[in-house]
Symmetry: C2
Subunit: 275 residues, 2 copies
């Protein structure tokens, strides 16, 4: 049995509809810190195992959660757990800043950048590019049914970055007008598939068909150490509209063939030549 | 000045959000009949010209409206106008039935058919296939922001055809599960582009990437006699969601390269070999 305060964090993670894999991993790390504040010794050791399962189950598609769980040691020492969880949070923040630095260099003057869904890594890149004085425009999708795109629009508005919001179905139309595509990721598999918000694959295909370079921005902890594309379970959250059940897988998989590069804090990973 | 009864039909055409190019062309033909019931002689001749402009302006993307206007003679004789408008409506109905006959032959036993938006020609094909005793399943998109997909779902439900509704962003995910794609058209240009509800291009790309045959069902009056892809004006209807303006072009263009065939009442048109 996990303490109620820890379960409360798990519940908030489960209910989160806008933020992505990196935010949820940070919340997961905070759950470990909370656990280590309450438990110690054998109870802590058991708690770490139990929490690991719960954290991964929040969203089994997200490699960030898997890697967080791997990062936390199985120990009876609460200080050790806290230190590692805090390290994870710090690395997460540093990775994002570095992705901003590297990614913003890819943005040229007057670029028209198309994106899909809400990615904190993409947002960081846009923010840094703006700080560097670059002029560019963002085309973003609403990202139904939860409309993360509208949350991103709000942030861009605050940052005084000019943007246009489109319906998800218009990705193909607007990919033609874009000069660069930038999306986030929830999981990057060993065989080079990028799992991200459903629709990302459609944007990648459209960009490929129109010669628009398609980049993914992702902290290295989004790279899954073992899983291949078919091993990844795609989370679904069905809903109803007008009494009709709507299927709703949250993610799709884009093969590396359609990706120009993956911007990580370690540099820009490029697809192997034979792909 | 057109009679109020005719203007009323035009207004209803402008407000239509679910039905497509073939339904609107039929309404346009009814507007001509109404005009011929009220006007004759020189007033009729002037009225036909004025109505022609208004009918095309209802939706300049739709070749069906352009071809209807071409079909109606410039004459002072109301009987002639009525006869031609009625002929158009009859040909429209016959074409749809014939498309149902031809198209339903393409559907194999246990086919999984993916479609986007609401097409009366596609619906006719599905209806005929069901009547022929074929067993199949339909995957359809919601088709935001007007949700024509939900209207199609209702029709399929009445016809006892089994179906699943998906969000628009999942087209790529579900194209992989489909064995056949079937969509309608609003305009087919001389250079072989199919204009249909925005998102059709995304479905075509996904099907092409997954080896799923992609067919268009369209009466021959959806083929534009002159226009090439860049001549077609794509109608836009911006809207607001949560105070944010959302761009909303209604249609996109799919190049013939991605289309296996166009099912018309004259037969199945196939792309020229060199494409």
């Amino acid at each position: 049995m996990l303490p109620e305060e820890v379960e409360e964090i798990i519940r908030r993670m489960e209910e989160e509809r806008i933020q992505g894999a990196s935010y949820l991993a940070e919340m997961g790390a905070k759950a470990y810190i909370k656990l280590a504040e309450i438990f110690e010794g054998d109870t802590l050791l058991e708690g770490i195992k139990e929490l690991g399962t719960e954290v991964i189950n929040v969203n089994p598609t997200m490699a960030s959660l898997y890697n967080l769980v791997r990062f936390i040691p199985l120990t009876k020492n609460p200080e050790f757990v806290k230190a590692k969880a805090e390290e994870f949070i710090r690395l997460n923040k540093e990775a994002k800043l570095e992705i901003g630095n590297i990614g913003s260099e890819i943005i040229d003057q007057n670029e028209i950048i198309i994106t899909h869904s809400y990615s904190s890594a993409v947002l960081e890149i846009l923010k840094r590019a703006k700080e560097k004085g670059k002029t560019f425009k963002v085309i973003l999708t609403e990202s139904g049914p939860d409309y993360e795109g509208l949350a991103l629009a709000k942030r861009l508005d605050e940052l005084k970055i000019s943007f246009e919001v489109i319906t998800d179905s218009q990705m193909g139309l607007f990919a033609k007008k874009a000069t660069l595509a930038l999306v986030g990721a929830d999981n990057i598999t060993r065989d080079g598939y990028v799992f991200n918000k459903a629709g990302t694959y459609l944007l990648a295909l459209s960009c490929y068909d129109n010669g628009v370079p398609f980049y993914v921005a992702a902290e290295s902890f989004k790279i899954h150490p073992e899983a291949k594309v078919d091993d990844v379970k795609i989370v679904e959250r069905k809903f109803k509209r007008d009494h009709t059940i709507i299927r709703n897988y949250l993610f799709d998989a884009t093969p590396w063939k359609y990706i120009r590069g993956i911007i990580t804090e370690l540099g820009v990973l490029v697809p192997p030549k034979e792909i």
